[in-house]
């Protein structure tokens, strides 16, 4: 009986204490911290909803706070729930910035009227045109290439290059039982298929993807990392992954028996996607948020932002990591990532039709 009472009382006490702390809500301004500029008191803070996971942005945010005194409050989740949250909160949202890891999600957020257009000479100069929204509602900050990776045991770079020139070649029956893919539920594959639809049209893309599924060595993996490990172990001969997963694997474990073949170098180029950000339509700290975005697009910060995840900086003046440089130069598909994003629902349906799990 005593322990029960204790448990209940303890729980109730915690409840009260925590509710008190919970009342310390996000949009509250620290009264009296900045007597010089009363209305600008909120400029000391930016609230970020980010689908780019915290371990990849934490250090930069801390640095920004140290350099500028502006506090950053971040909430991580997948893009779907974050966008839904923004929608439900409407004009009262505490969020100033939305960061996603895919252009499709930014496209959808913009479509729903959740992002505000931004006029910024800095962003316009730092982010290439095909990596941002034509209406300036969002900007790419890091670029990831969805490329072909293959096991180097038993094949040379020349051999492989002569057999596989592009994504479509992986549908060739000679890869039967050798191809590995990640789950079709993941946004990276949806974006890839959307890019192929933009290139080839739906019927031909459906043929290609059907060929991929017929060539599968094993059920689709739930992550690119597992897929790369399966290539290294010899379960798969070839697969399609985001380049940075291989970069991370090499950074963590050293050289791997895996090489990258940049697809369609004579054709449309490698499918690239972005991790990017936009200002929310109802941002309370608009100026501070814009400053943060501009800061994230500057060359020095870009190298760190992309480097933390072995990605390519969106800003062409910044350099990727040495490991990623080692993957060599490639020609990217110049199509606007916004257009690819808008075709994602079509891609998802196509993948359902061909039975890609």
């Amino acid at each position: 009986m005593n322990s029960l009472k204790f448990l209940l009382c303890f729980g109730a006490a915690l409840l009260l204490a925590a509710c008190g702390r919970g009342g310390d809500a996000p949009t509250q301004t620290p009264a009296g911290t900045d007597p010089a500029a009363a209305p600008a008191a909120a400029a000391g803070e930016v609230v970020v909803y980010t689908a780019r996971k915290y371990q990849l942005v934490e250090e930069l945010f801390e640095q920004y706070t140290k350099d500028t005194g502006v506090r950053i409050r971040a909430v991580t989740d997948d893009a779907g729930p974050l966008i839904q949250k923004l929608k439900a909160e409407g004009a009262n949202t505490p969020a100033d910035v939305l960061i996603t890891v895919d252009a499709g999600d930014l496209w959808f957020a913009a479509q729903e009227g959740l992002l505000a257009p931004v006029q910024s000479a800095t962003l316009a100069a730092n982010v290439p045109e095909n990596l941002r929204d034509p209406e300036n509602r969002w900007y790419g900050l890091a670029v990831r290439a969805r490329t072909i990776a293959y096991g180097t045991q038993g094949t040379t770079a020349e051999q492989f290059a002569s057999q596989v020139k592009g994504y479509a070649d992986l549908a060739d029956p000679k890869w039967k039982g050798k191809l590995c893919l990640r789950s079709s539920k993941h946004v990276y594959n949806r974006s890839l298929v959307a890019a192929l639809i933009a290139r080839y049209g739906e019927p031909k893309t459906e043929e290609i993807v059907k060929g991929w599924v017929a060539n599968l060595a094993t059920d689709p993996f739930s992550s690119d990392t597992l897929l790369l490990e399966a290539i290294a172990a010899g379960q798969c001969g070839v697969g399609i992954v985001n380049h940075y997963y291989l970069g991370r694997m090499i950074a963590e474990k050293g050289t791997q028996p895996i090489a990258i073949r940049w697809p369609d170098q004579d054709g449309a180029g490698v499918h690239v996607n972005i991790s990017g950000a936009g200002l929310t339509a109802h941002a309370k700290n608009r100026d501070a948020a814009l400053k943060l975005l501009e800061w994230l697009s500057t060359p020095e910060v870009q190298a760190k932002f992309a480097g933390a995840n072995q990605e390519y900086p969106a800003n062409p003046q910044a350099q990727p990591s040495d490991i990623v440089k080692g993957f060599g130069e490639y020609r990217a598909d110049p199509i606007s990532v916004a257009k690819v994003g808008s075709m994602q629902p079509d891609a998802a349906k196509l993948m359902d039709r061909v039975g890609w799990k």
């Binding site: 729980g11 809500a25 371990q55 729930p81 597992l226 379960q235």
Partner: protein, 557 residues
């Protein structure tokens, strides 16, 4: 949870007579209480139903043509498989430890509950990382046997069923053990006097008597399986829940997702009603009395009885813990910092708060049904506990939307009156706890309701004769009797909240990143081994209350 029955030691007829009498004196308050407890879920379902209107008819027809038929079959296979594995393990082990005596029995009796603390998604990623083709086990075997070795793949229907069965069997075990323990010796004595062997006695007497509890446990397991997203995502196994996510995040149609979710809720509610009807057709007669003596096993039988629980514990808990510890060691230098301990502290706090709240609600609901055991209160109870079958992210949307709407409306009124009303419901613990309560009431309600069924009305009458009535009756007579049920409920809810991801992610207050949030952030970037450190803390933090509380319950029982 409404799927769990009252004590079979009370006969149906006496229950009914008591019910009529109770309804005559109880008035309307039980209905009001039950309605209040069910309110969060009613709000959720209302928001979901409203959101489900409109949407793209083409998306829905696409889903029904290409996605739904496949996932219905896969979902049924998964639920049936997991129910079978968890049912067999849970019932078999419960029978073993309550009927026989063998070395380490006392330890196993409560230790077999410990796998509750390990989230199924953690078990899943450990199993795949260790046992898939590229993992260390198969890699080593290939060096021994030769590179052509092919084992049945862990990433398969069988694999996901086994992993979820191992993670979820404790629910069945917990309830089945309670049933076997309270059946008393007379049932067994009757069986023995009729010349039944222990196995026959089990199949023909003990098992049928325990069926309501086992069914209740399996219903929890089935609901958890239906709502699961983390584990099936790691296996890339498609279920109704993944189809809901697909509609939402792939086809950008929350409306279609909510329509599918609504269908899921209707199906689950239907299944529960059918199950309840089937059970109501059976009549259980009063037995009970002191617990039966356990038969002592000797020789190879004793060895086998000792080895079986050890195997289950090793596979479900010890091996995964070893893997987690070895991975954690790799990243501890970088990740074991103040942030980590803060996250652990927040997880603990949330778990405790939710446990206290759910226990209080479960108690209120169980009393409401007891005081007015009519169709209306029962329906409300069933409604209130339905949240357990809803995918967490869907439920989170269902909680978030009405709260945000209320918040916005309130601030709009404040603005019109020229006042700055400090009304921040959104982004507070109130929302988070309301969502937890809507999700986990079933888990807390099951043991409380089962336990309250044992507090007979005759007992109430005796207590009244001795001058205890009203709240004093509850405090002095009922609560001590309900202790085991409440503590069990608290432990179950606590570990469930520690493991919970989507609701915590969507409705947590600023800065309230928990261990489960860390695991989510790392695993969604494919950093499995780095996720081991927070995952390990979830398991360890869950083990302590499960061990402490359930041992105490055991001693009391």
């Amino acid at each position: 949870m409404s799927a769990v029955p009252a004590d079979p030691a009370i006969s149906g007829r006496s229950l009914r007579r008591g019910a009529d009498a109770a309804r005559a004196t109880a008035g309307r308050w039980p209905l009001a209480v039950a309605a209040l407890v069910a309110l969060p879920l009613v709000l959720v379902l209302g928001a979901l139903a409203q959101g489900a209107f409109g949407g793209d008819a083409e998306v829905v027809s696409h889903l029904f043509r290409h996605v739904v038929p496949g996932v219905v079959v896969d979902t049924l296979v998964l639920v049936a498989g997991v129910a079978l594995v968890a049912g067999l393990l849970g019932t078999g082990l419960a029978w073993l430890v309550s009927t026989y005596d063998f070395p380490l029995r006392g330890f196993y009796a409560w230790a077999l509950l410990l796998p509750l603390a390990a989230p199924a998604y953690v078990l899943a990623f450990v199993a795949i990382a260790a046992l898939d083709y590229a993992g260390p086990v198969q890699g080593w075997l290939r060096t021994v046997v030769g590179p052509e070795l092919r084992l049945p793949p862990i990433r398969s229907t069988g694999g996901v069923i086994l992993v979820m069965g191992l993670a979820l069997y404790p629910y069945v075990y917990l309830l089945a053990r309670g049933a076997f323990a309270t059946q008393g010796r007379r049932a067994l004595e009757v069986a023995q006097s009729l010349g039944l062997s222990p196995r026959q006695a089990f199949l023909r007497v003990q098992l049928p008597l325990a069926r309501p509890w086992i069914a209740g446990g399996i219903a929890l397991v089935a609901m958890e399986t239906l709502a699961d997203f983390g584990t099936v995502a790691v296996f890339n196994y498609d279920t109704f829940t993944t189809a809901i996510y697909r509609a939402w995040s792939g086809l950008y149609s929350l409306e279609a997702a909510l329509q599918l979710a609504g269908l899921l809720v209707v199906l689950v509610a239907g299944a529960l009603v059918v199950e309840q009807r089937a059970r109501a057709a059976q009549r259980h007669t009063a037995l009970g009395g002191p617990a039966a003596d356990r038969r002592r096993l000797r020789g190879w039988r004793a060895a086998l009885a000792t080895a079986a629980p050890a195997t289950v514990l090793t596979v479900a808990l010890v091996l995964p813990l070893i893997a987690l510890v070895s991975w954690s060691a790799r990243h501890a230098a970088r990740d074991l910092d103040a942030d980590y301990f803060d996250a652990a502290w927040r997880s603990l706090l949330l778990g405790l708060m939710a446990a206290a709240l759910v226990c209080a609600l479960a108690l209120a609901l169980a009393y409401a049904v007891r005081a007015r055991p009519g169709a209306a209160t029962r329906a409300l109870a069933r409604l209130a506990t339905l949240g357990y079958a809803l995918p967490g992210a869907v439920l989170a949307v269902g909680v978030f939307v009405p709260v945000a709407t209320l918040n916005n409306a309130f601030e709009a009124v404040g603005a019109r009156l020229g006042a700055d009303w400090p009304f921040y419901l959104q982004g507070t613990f109130v929302v988070l706890l309301m969502a937890y309560a809507a999700r986990f009431l079933a888990v807390g309600h099951a043991p409380v309701e089962a336990n309250l069924g044992r507090v007979t009305r005759a007992l109430d009458d005796s207590a009244r004769l001795l001058g205890a009535s009203g709240l004093s009756l509850v405090a002095r007579v009922h609560l001590p009797l309900l202790r085991a049920g409440l503590l069990t409920a608290a432990a179950l809810v606590f570990v469930d909240v520690m493991k919970e991801m989507p609701i915590t992610l969507m409705t947590r207050p600023f800065g309230w990143d928990t261990l489960a949030v860390r695991v989510f952030e790392l695993t969604s970037e494919g950093e499995w081994t780095r996720a081991a450190l927070p995952a390990l803390a979830i398991v360890l933090a869950g083990l302590v209350p499960v061990a402490l509380i359930l041992r105490r319950v055991d001693r009391a029982a």
